[in-house]
């Protein structure tokens, strides 16, 4: 039925839907963007690991750099300065905002605004031809995220602020003040966009009701979204919770399976049939709250309309906005206290040694897990699991359901459109997943 290079996702992937003799669709998703990070990071000194791993994905480079730093620090038993922890938390909050805003701007909003229109219109370029101002407003959120990362870390893609042991330098006071002054405006814009997205979801109620409602086992780090150390992983769900997974038994719990016709891998948990889910929907269904005022107000609005736990993958887009608002609230708190944490010790030295450790980071799309083995200061082994490694079975389940609905639909544009919408609910990053 369809063979296509996937557009409006991050990275390189191909979707293939074949219809068998009995009219049943068979869905395949492949990515061949393998670059061999695990191979050529080996042998490098630990000081280079953040620079190397950061290049795994430009979109999520902050997570990869930070993950490399934390894994190395844990492997060699180094505690970073308190001020550096706060600065890293600030960076993570800005990255969470920026990553969600990129997904919303580039990939999601055109779908929600014009779900049934021609794919030629249903994107940023098509919208721009119709109304430049709308696109300008859509891009304003991303522009703020980019500028926030640039102010505090020098650049938005591959910044060098976190280093093993702490930070290179604290952001300048002027940059922090400028960032804080810009918060009220962007908060207003984020809340306005959130209202728009909630309204659009109500307008697309049928789609929300149909798309990805299969209950899945949610999975999230036990540490808060901006936490940066191992705190165990929590899991729960209708298909049977498995409690908290600790570092020492992670490898025994997780099974990696190669995905057919692809260089993607899938994380499976023995005892779980399928559908382990990470990301915004998973997090909120585990925590039930964001713990910050405005974000919880957004969540309350969603609960009123859609109930709780939240079902339907499309709702994850509304949660992106809630998490962006939560990030802004946390950024505001951190900036208000900046005088107490900024300007002290930047980093601690990391002596060459032997060790191995995992690091877990809650990224915008879910858990990033890093494993590093070090010997004499040099990397002997490095491993990484991306959010998509967990989400892929669930994603394919939803695509399969959509493909089933699409069989017999005369409009190929509509078939493609709905399959694209289903995939983008998971905001898959093939850059991250196909290292």
């Amino acid at each position: 039925m369809v063979t296509h290079s996937l557009a409006r996702v991050f990275g390189e992937a191909y979707l293939k839907v074949e219809v068998d003799e009995e009219g049943r669709p068979v869905v395949g998703l492949a990515s061949h963007g393998y670059r061999g990070f695990e191979l050529w990071c080996r042998g490098a000194h630990g000081e280079f690991l953040p620079d190397l791993l950061s290049r795994r994905c430009g979109v999520d480079s902050v997570y990869h750099r930070m993950g490399a730093c934390i894994a190395l620090e844990r492997a060699l038993g180094v505690e970073i300065p308190e001020g550096a922890k706060k600065a890293r938390e600030l960076l993570l909050a800005c990255q969470l905002f920026r990553r969600h805003s990129l997904t919303m701007t580039l990939h999601v909003l055109p779908d929600l605004l014009f779900p049934a229109s021609d794919p030629g219109l249903r994107n940023l370029v098509g919208l721009f031809r119709v109304d430049r101002d709308v696109v300008g407003r859509m891009m304003a959120l991303n522009a703020w995220g980019e500028s926030a990362l640039r102010r505090i870390a020098g650049r938005a893609v591959h910044p060098v602020l976190p280093v093993p042991g702490g930070l290179t330098a604290y952001p300048e006071e002027e940059a922090l003040i400028g960032l804080r002054n810009s918060l009220p405006e962007v908060m207003g814009l984020a809340r306005e966009t959130s209202r728009l997205v909630r309204m659009l979801l109500r307008r697309n109620e049928d789609l929300v009701g149909e798309l990805g409602k299969t209950p899945a086992t949610p999975l999230a780090a036990a540490t808060p979204p901006f936490g940066e150390s191992w705190g165990g992983i929590r899991m729960a769900g209708e298909r049977g919770g498995v409690g908290e997974v600790q570092e020492e038994d992670l490898l025994e719990r997780v099974e990696m399976v190669s995905w057919r016709d692809s260089l993607l891998e899938v994380c499976r948990l023995p005892g779980q049939e399928s559908g382990v889910l990470t990301g915004p929907l998973s997090r909120v269904n585990l925590t039930g709250s964001y713990g910050s005022e405005l974000a919880d107000t957004e969540l309350e609005e969603l609960r009123k309309t859609w109930g709780f736990p939240l079902r339907g993958m499309l709702l994850s887009h509304a949660l992106r906005l809630a998490e962006m608002i939560m990030a802004l609230e946390r950024i505001d708190q951190l900036l208000a206290e900046a005088a107490s944490w900024s300007g002290g010790e930047t980093r601690r030295v990391i002596p060459p040694g032997i060790g191995a450790a995992w690091a877990a980071l809650e990224g915008a799309e879910g858990l990033h897990l890093y494993r590093v083995e070090v010997e004499g200061g040099h990397i002997s082994e490095v491993g990484y699991l991306s959010p998509l490694h967990w989400n892929l079975p669930g994603l394919l389940e939803v695509v399969q359901e959509e493909a089933q609905r699409a069989v017999g639909d005369v409009s190929e544009a509509r078939q493609l459109g709905r399959l694209g919408v289903a995939i983008r609910c998971y905001a898959p990053c093939f850059f991250c997943a196909s290292g």
């Binding site: 991050f10 191979l39 280079f48 190669s258």
Partner: protein, 292 residues
Amino acid sequence: MAVVQLGSCGGCQLSLLDLGERFLEIMESYSMEYFLMIKEADAPPEVDIALVEGTVRHARHLAMARMTRERANLLVALGTCSVFGGVQGLCNAHGEGRWEESLSRAGAGEDIPMFTRRVMPLDAYVSVDFRLPGCPVPAELLWSFLQQVGEGGRPARETATVCAECPRTGRGEGGGPHRFIEEDSRPGTCFLEQGYLCLGPLTRDGCASRCPGSWDYPCRGCRGPSDGALAFQQLDPLRESLRRLSRSTGEKEEKVVELFMDAPQAFFMFSLAEPTFRGRRRGGTSGLVFRI
């Protein structure tokens, strides 16, 4: 305009999007015909200008690079991966056996496209009209380039090195060589003079020297080798770095090199795939690249 992605991290495409308001101006000046990150399309059509990010890693990439070349009036290698091979060039330090083992561990079956035996810059496969290195390409340079091309110009830029823009000066107190994370460095003083590896003297400028200048972090060479490093054997990244570290630490070069068991990552993190460095007898990458 077409924006084409080969084997990459997407960071240079983000640089284009991060131009913000100016990106909207680009969309007004050029008709954006192909840019998979933001719009659906089957294949790049005939365009005036194609920005190609990433390296050719497998047969699909090669077909895409060739198709883009045929259909683009101007082809621009966007980013260090495309211009010099980038970090992916570090694959070249490993033999085919290890690469195949690595592919196999990643789950490669029979239906995957054929991978290239060696990572090469884009201009090893198709002719390139302009090269815009950077990891990612600095947004200001990209903007300035697109403006000039849009006005019918053929931009050229005399390059200097990162040191030309770096505010760090002064002399260290001897000692070293050191690894950056294993010692505390002195702010404001040249890293090399303190005995730390910094590729600033061998790396092209254009980044405003932000890492060493503003972020107290040694240059890793992400803008790619300077014109001097490419043209002159005595400015080879390995040879010249060892010479400078030897001078600042008072140790013999043979002693300094012992610290760098990870020479591919240390001296050629972003340029191991650059063919110019392979033929050099002293320095260069000839001893670091796996011979096919």
